[in-house]
């Protein structure tokens, strides 16, 4: 059975993390990869976190730690979808998305999901969760300034996409 190594850091029971942050991580992933893949992506995020959990050296900001993992899993999901799509006939997969999951501004969100990982995550934190740049940075494990840059770079790219 896994035990915390050397340092005796007091970690909360993992279920506490799931209860406290599961719903908002899901929301983050719905925005990042879309509703169809969000649930599986959340499972992958939590399994990854559970694997690393006993080796954590401190429990200072477990939420930010979970978001960084979720951001990575979202990128894996988006990439593997792009690989699949490259092999599929143009447009065929698009129609397989369950209609019940389609939301008002679907085209916009498809464009968000196609952004580089950090820009995508920064936009979701900033606009879906309505966070200040300092908090966006904290959840991404980057500086406030870097958070600001990722948001504006993301918006610039989106504008090009949307106006096209």
């Amino acid at each position: 059975m896994a035990r915390p190594v050397s340092s005796r850091v007091q970690l909360p029971p993992f279920q506490r993390l799931v209860d406290d942050h599961g719903a908002e991580l899901h929301r983050f992933l719905v925005a990042s990869v879309g509703p169809t893949d969000a649930e599986d992506c959340l499972q992958e995020t939590l399994l990854s976190a559970l694997r690393a959990y006993p080796r954590l050296r401190h429990a200072d900001n477990l939420r930010a730690w979970l978001y960084v993992i979720a951001q990575r899993k979202a990128t894996d999901t988006v990439r593997s979808r792009q690989r699949h799509r490259a092999g599929a006939l143009d447009g065929v997969e698009e129609r397989l998305v369950a209609p019940a999951h389609r939301t008002g501004d679907d085209d916009l969100w498809s464009s968000v999901r196609a952004l580089p990982a950090k820009q995508r995550a920064a936009l979701v934190h900033r606009f879906v969760f309505d966070l200040a740049y300092r908090d966006v940075g904290e959840r991404m494990g980057i500086s406030e300034e870097a958070a600001r840059q990722n948001v504006s770079a993301g918006l610039r790219r989106l504008r090009v996409e949307v106006d096209r």
Binding site: M1, P4, L11, L42, L50, R51, R159
Partner: protein, 203 residues
């Protein structure tokens, strides 16, 4: 604020998460990947809500609601592992047998026990206690003797008082030599209810 920012704020995609199904799937996958060190779930009983904790080795802990769920969870995280999930599947067998016991359909538990929370003399006392049959009682002195220290009745009492697996390791069957009840970690009312259920005390 630009029009684009406004659209991003107004159109957050609709989240939907079927929590029970999600939790069950997470428990299954964590268990299959050997990442789940402790699974727990609660059941209702005549003694109030019971929470059972199960590891891959066996039943680790049975907690009364009066012990404070959060405190017990934190204790298990610290002493055993923080890889803990509310995962009903792994706890099914323990919960089924407890239900059977309270429905008077079961007189002995057939569950592997994980003794990780008990050490030294206390483990000897509780192992001997686990063998006490339904409907019979013993004394603190006899349990001390069974654990190899005939004069350690008081220490045996302490071990029984901190039994992490009440009911299944039936510390309620141990009484004072004069027949008085002694103590019980879950409170004497619960001890009386259990002894009455087994016919050792008038109901």
């Amino acid at each position: 604020m630009t029009d684009l920012e406004q659209r991003l704020r107004e159109a957050p995609p609709e989240p939907f998460l079927d929590r029970p199904r999600f939790a069950a799937a997470l428990g299954r996958r964590a268990s299959a990947a050997r990442l789940l060190d402790v699974a727990y779930a609660s059941i209702d009983s005549p003694l109030g809500e019971l929470t059972v904790f199960v590891t891959p080795r066996g039943l680790l802990r049975v907690a009364y609601d009066s012990e404070g769920g959060e405190a017990v969870l934190a204790e298990v995280a610290e002493r055993v592992s923080p890889r803990i999930l509310r995962a009903p599947a792994r706890t099914d067998e323990a919960r089924r047998q407890l239900d059977g016991y309270f429905a008077s359909n079961r007189r002995r538990f057939d569950l592997p026990i994980d003794w990780s929370l008990v050490h030294g003399f206390a483990r000897g006392v509780l192992r001997a206690t686990a063998e006490l049959p339904f409907g019979e009682t013993s004394t603190y002195g006899r349990m001390a003797r069974a654990a190899g220290s005939p004069r350690a009745a008081r220490a045996a009492g302490n071990a029984l008082g901190s039994n992490p697996i009440p009911i299944v390791v039936p510390c309620h069957r141990v009484l004072h030599a004069d027949g008085t009840l002694g103590g019980y970690s879950g409170g004497l009312d619960r001890k009386r209810i259990l002894l009455a259920l087994e016919g050792s005390l008038p109901a």
